[in-house]
Amino acid sequence: MTTEDLRRIDELVHSADMAVRVASQLRLWIKRNQLGDPDSLKESLRFLDEALSGGRFVATGDVASASSSLSPLTWSADIRFGFAQPSMPSPEKKQYEELVDFLGSIRETIDNVLSNTPPQAESVESAARFFSQLGKLLGGKADSALRSPAGGTQMLQDRFSYQ
C-alpha cells in the first residue's frame, strides 16, 4: 500500500540522469578543461559514498557502514562483476575490496576535477566510462519500469531467480 514502484522508478530515472550527466561532464572537462555542471559531479560523490559504504559493509561487515543503501553498490557491482550466472561462484571478500578500491579511485578523480587539481586524463576517462556504463544500465532499467506499472517489481528479477 505504498507508491513503492513509483519511488523505485524515480530513483532509477534520477540516478541514470546523474550518471549520463557526469559522464558527459568528464568528457567535456578533458576537452575544455572547465566544468559546466559541477552539481552533477557533487551528486556523483554522494552516490559513490553510498556505494563505498555499502561495499565496505559487504566486504568486512563494518558496522559503521551498516545503515547505507545497497542500491549504489549492487549497481556498481553489476558493472564490475557482470550479472551472476547460476554456475558462477560468489565474489569473494577480496573482489569486494577491489571494487571498493576501484570506486574509491573514481571518487578521488572526481574530487580532483571539482577542486581543480588536474587528475591524469586516463583516470578521468576511466571514471567517464564507469558512469557511461552506469547510465546505460540504469536507463535500461528505468525504461522498462516506465513502460508498465508492474515494472517496479520486474526491476529486481535480473538479480534473482525463483523456483
Partner: protein, 444 residues
Amino acid sequence: MTPHQFKRVLLHVRYELNRYQTALQKLESCEFPSTIALTLVSEQQATCLAANADLDQIEADRVDDPDGAADRLVSEFRKMVSRRRYLEVLEKARSDEVPWSLVPSIETLARQILPGYQVLITTTPDMNYMIGWGGNSVTIYLPRLHRANGFLHVLIGHELFHPIVTDFFVAEKPKYRPKLRDLCQQHLAKMGVPADLFFQQRLDALLDHATQQWEKAITELMCDMGATALFGPAAIWTLSGFAATQEMNSPPTPQSQYYPPWRMRIRVVLDFLERKLGAGDLLDQLSIQLEQVGLAEHSTALKSSVSEEQMTFGSNDLASEPLRELSVQVYDLVEECISDAGDFVVAKASQFPKRWSETLQEIPLLLGRLMMNVPPSELIEGQKQESKAASMTGIVMACWLERLRLEKSSQLELDTFHRLCRLMLKAIEDAELKRNFSDWAATK
C-alpha cells in the same frame, strides 16, 4: 545518434514539454480541496523552465561531446515520461474527483501526526491505497471506484504512518544489518541444495534482497499498528475486510513487492491492540456503557467481533507457509523487532489527541443518532443548548459498531450499507465544520 536523429528527438522533447506546460496552465484554473495542489502546479512549471534550459545546454555541448549529449537528451525524454504522472495525480485531485467531505478531516489528522507536511489527496484507478512523499508534501491516493466507502478509508491511517516510520530505521537498521549479513553468508555457504530459493550467488544482491524483505515487513506492520493506534478495533475490522479479498498467506517475494503475509499482519495488530494499547479493559468498559444505555446488541457485536478476529488470525502462520529458509530466518528478525516498533508507533500516535482510546465515551451518544439515520456528527448532552463536534475516531467506531450489529442480525444489505457510508462521511464533514466554527467563535 546521427545529427538528424538528435534534432528529431530534441524537437520531440521540446514539443512534449510545451504540451505539459499547457496542461499545467489548464489545471491552474481548476478547483481543488487541498491548497497544496496549486503549489505543486507551480513547482512543475518551474521544473519545465529548468528542463528547457537544460535542453539548450545539451544542444550547445553536442559539438564537443556528441555521445554524451545524445545520452543526456534521452535522459531528458525519460524524465519527461516519468513526469507525466503528475498530470494524472493533479487532475484526479480536483474537488469533483475526491471524497471532498473527508479532505479537511484528513488534513487535520495529517497536520497532527505529520507536522510540517502538506497533504494532497487524489484518486487512482487501482483498488488500493497508496502514499507518496518528498520535500514537505505528501500525496495520498484513494481508490476511485469506492471513494464513498468511508469504512475502507480508515486505511488512510495506515498510509499516514509511512513517512513516520522511516525514522525508526535510522536507529534500527545498523543493529539488524549485520545479523542479515550473517544470515546471507550462511545461506551462500549452503548453496546447491535443490530446495534453495535463490540461485543468486552474490552477497551484495542477496543482502539487498534480505534487507528489503526485512524493512518492508517492519514498515507495513508498523503502519498497520499506526492505523490501529489511531482508530482502534475499527482499523483491524477494516484491515481484515481488505485482506479477505486477497491471498492471506502470500509469501514476501519481489513479485509481491515483499509485502508480509496478511495473516501475519492481522495477528500482529491484534496483539498490538491488546498488549500495547490495553484494549481489553477499554473495550470491556465500552461494552458496559453500551449495555447501560440499552445498546446490548452493539455490545454483543463488539465482543464477538474482536474474539472472531482473534480466532481467525491467532495461529502462528509463518511456520506453516511455503516460505523458504532464508525468508523464515529474516522473519525471525522481524519478530525480534516488533515490540520496539510497537513502542515507537504508540509514541508517535500520541501526537493525535483524539485517537480512539480518548473518544470511546462519545460512542453511545453517536450510536443513538445513527440508529435514527441522523449523521453522528455532534454530541448533545442532557438539556444543554450547545453541542460539541464529534471526533473522527468516535464517528468511525460508532459506524463500525452499527455495521457489526447489522451484520450479526443479517440486516446489512447493499442499500443499508450505502446509507451507512453516507451517514459516516456526512458526519465527518459536519463535525469538522462545526469544530472549525467553534474554534473560530472562541477567538471572537
